[in-house]
């Protein structure tokens, strides 16, 4: 019976993703007739610019950042042994964001290197929160409060830099809520390589990460090199979050919601949960972005706002449910 549920999940998700992808290419602020849309595939014309230079990179960016954030969330939840954690909640995303905006504002670096700087910020933030949650045995709610504090510090840094550097302020708004508009292929080239590598690494350590959820003692006695797996996990999380942040800014909630939804269908074994979350995450982001694009067309609502509208209530429900359980 369980196998059916998993198969059903994969089939339904794949269909939703394909439909979303099609609609994202088909519809947008510029209205294309069906004939115009199909003419895009025939060669150089206005429609092909719209479909292949504007909409396709944006769709790919949505899929990539959805995969990155949801897999990062899945790993962070395993590392902190806390289902409420996600890269945006514990401050990993804003750590990456602070570094990105710092280098954009003060040091004129090529955009290709942004993921590298984002990685440094994400790595430091995730090291901090993981060490804290394990050493102090943080409870589910206190880890969220700690994340809140970390986020507040990083966000203050981000706002500060955007105030003193006016050119940074222009893109600050879109960056801080998470947006996919005006994405080019150049923006996603380096992140896509990092994300693919990160997901492969994540799958390689998925069994050990799953075992670690039984606690360090049990994992160690089962032959898992606990420290090494954790450090690898932190590095992967940072790679993925950093890439996502350099594509779409501080997009929240994906890393929280996607693993939860996927877990309902495939369970908590990371071997299955990582691919399932990746699928769910990419749907969440592309679908939210598509909705943001068409609901208020021709104006383009950042994907982060739609994600927050879905994510915030979801987060509250989890918090209340978890709170009652741990009281």
């Amino acid at each position: 019976m369980k196998i059916k549920k998993e198969k059903l999940f994969i089939i339904i998700s794949a269909v939703i993703l394909l439909l979303t992808a099609f609609f994202s290419l088909r519809y947008g602020s510029a209205k294309l007739t069906l004939a115009e849309f199909f003419s895009a595939f025939k060669g150089n014309n206005t429609s092909s610019v719209i479909v292949f230079q504007l909409r396709l990179p944006r769709l790919l960016a949505g899929i990539l950042s959805g995969i990155a954030l949801s897999v990062a969330g899945t790993i962070i939840q395993a590392l902190t042994d806390n289902d409420m954690a996600s890269p945006s909640i514990v401050g990993v995303n804003s750590g990456a964001g602070l570094m990105v905006i710092f280098f954009v504002a003060f040091i004129n670096v090529s955009a290709y290197f942004l993921p590298v700087f984002a990685f440094i910020g994400a790595f430091l933030a995730s090291l901090f929160i993981t060490a804290l949650s394990r050493k102090m045995g943080l409870t589910k709610s206190s880890i969220i409060l700690t994340g809140l504090a970390i986020n507040a510090v990083f966000s203050a840094g981000i706002s500060f830099i955007s105030l003193i550097d006016e050119s940074a302020l222009v893109s600050y708004h879109a960056f801080s809520v998470g947006s996919l508009s005006l994405i080019t292929y150049g923006d996603i080239l380096v992140p896509s390589i990092i994300i693919v590598t990160g997901v492969i690494l994540a799958l390689l350590i998925s069994k050990d990460l799953t075992i670690i959820r039984m606690g360090d003692t049990v994992a160690g006695s089962l032959g898992v090199r606990v420290k090494r797996v954790k450090v690898t996990g932190i590095i992967i999380t940072s790679m993925l979050s950093a890439s996502a942040v350099s594509i779409c800014g501080l997009l929240g909630f994906v890393g929280l919601i996607a693993p939860h939804l996927a877990k309902l269908f495939v369970g908590g074994n990371l071997k299955k949960l990582i691919p399932a979350s990746a699928l769910t995450g990419s749907i969440l982001v592309t679908l939210s972005d598509f909705l943001g694009k068409i609901i208020f067309a021709p104006s383009d609502l950042p994907v982060g706002i739609i994600m927050a509208l879905i994510g915030a209530p979801f987060f509250l429900i989890l918090l209340v449910k978890g709170g009652a359980k741990n009281a």
Binding site: T210, G215, T217, V218, S221, L222, V224, G267
Partner: protein, 248 residues
């Protein structure tokens, strides 16, 4: 077989001092002691999760020098506080085979046999598809026992494994363990609170008191020496051939 020599563990407000004991193979050794006597600390030392002075050797191999994977085939650990990870009981039990799996993690015929045996023996087969988060405390303890059986390590170390079990389930648990010791030539080291229950199943008894080894020897010597009455402030009587200890 498991040789503990001059083991000292220093913790902030507690020291486990100078423990020397040679635990016999194919036996069930029960570690008794009041709360805070050092039972769990001793187990942490065996599982290498605390720093200690002295040595713990298995067949002359110092456990400290082994890799996690090598150690995993020699010692299995069931800690006192068991986590409830968000996957199925079946997954949990299967992870017992982890030390034997290749990089891809595929289970071979022997692995599957061991898993089925462990599930059947412990009765965990009846709820194997439930999530660990959904089962009762007792079912969880039996599931972790099944995982330890799967792991097939020579020495099974269990810290208060029956704390959440009703008396009949506790007997069932200890019978499974005892049977494993006898038929599969395992060595079990287990901490317990209930002295009467402990003596029903133990071959050897180790008694810790304030971080010191108070007694180590056969069950018969433990009973006749009067050490139990002294440490636990209990009276001894025989009921139907069972040593019964009641609080004074």
């Amino acid at each position: 077989m498991l040789e503990i020599t001059d083991l000292t563990v220093r913790r902030k407000s507690f020291t486990l001092e100078n423990i020397t004991a040679n635990i016999k193979p194919h036996s069930l050794t029960v570690i008794l002691g009041k709360n805070g006597s050092g039972k769990s600390t001793l187990i942490s030392a065996i599982d290498q999760s605390v720093n200690y002075e002295g040595t713990i050797k298995y067949l002359n191999k110092d456990l400290k020098t082994l890799t996690e994977r090598e150690r995993a085939t020699i010692v299995s650990i069931m800690p006192q506080h068991l986590k409830s990870p968000p996957f199925s009981v079946n997954d949990l039990v299967s992870f017992g085979r982890n030390p034997y799996l290749d990089f891809a993690g595929r289970l071979n015929k022997l692995d599957v046999e061991r898993i089925n045996y462990a599930l059947e023996t412990t009765g965990a087969v009846n709820y194997k598809n439930k999530l660990v988060t959904q089962v009762s405390g007792g079912e969880k303890q039996l599931a972790y026992l099944a995982m330890a059986l799967c792991q097939d390590a020579r020495i099974m170390v269990l810290d208060e494994p029956t704390a959440f079990l009703d008396v009949d389930k506790e007997n069932e648990f200890l019978n499974v363990l005892k049977n494993e010791v006898k038929t599969h030539k395992k060595t079990a080291i287990i901490t317990m609170h209930n002295v009467t229950q402990a003596l029903r199943y133990a071959d050897s008894v180790m008694i810790l008191n304030n971080g010191k080894l108070e007694f180590f020897g056969s069950k018969e010597n433990a009973v006749s020496s009067g050490v139990i009455e002294r440490i636990f402030n209990v009276t001894h009587s025989m009921v139907n051939g069972i040593n019964v200890y009641l609080a004074k």
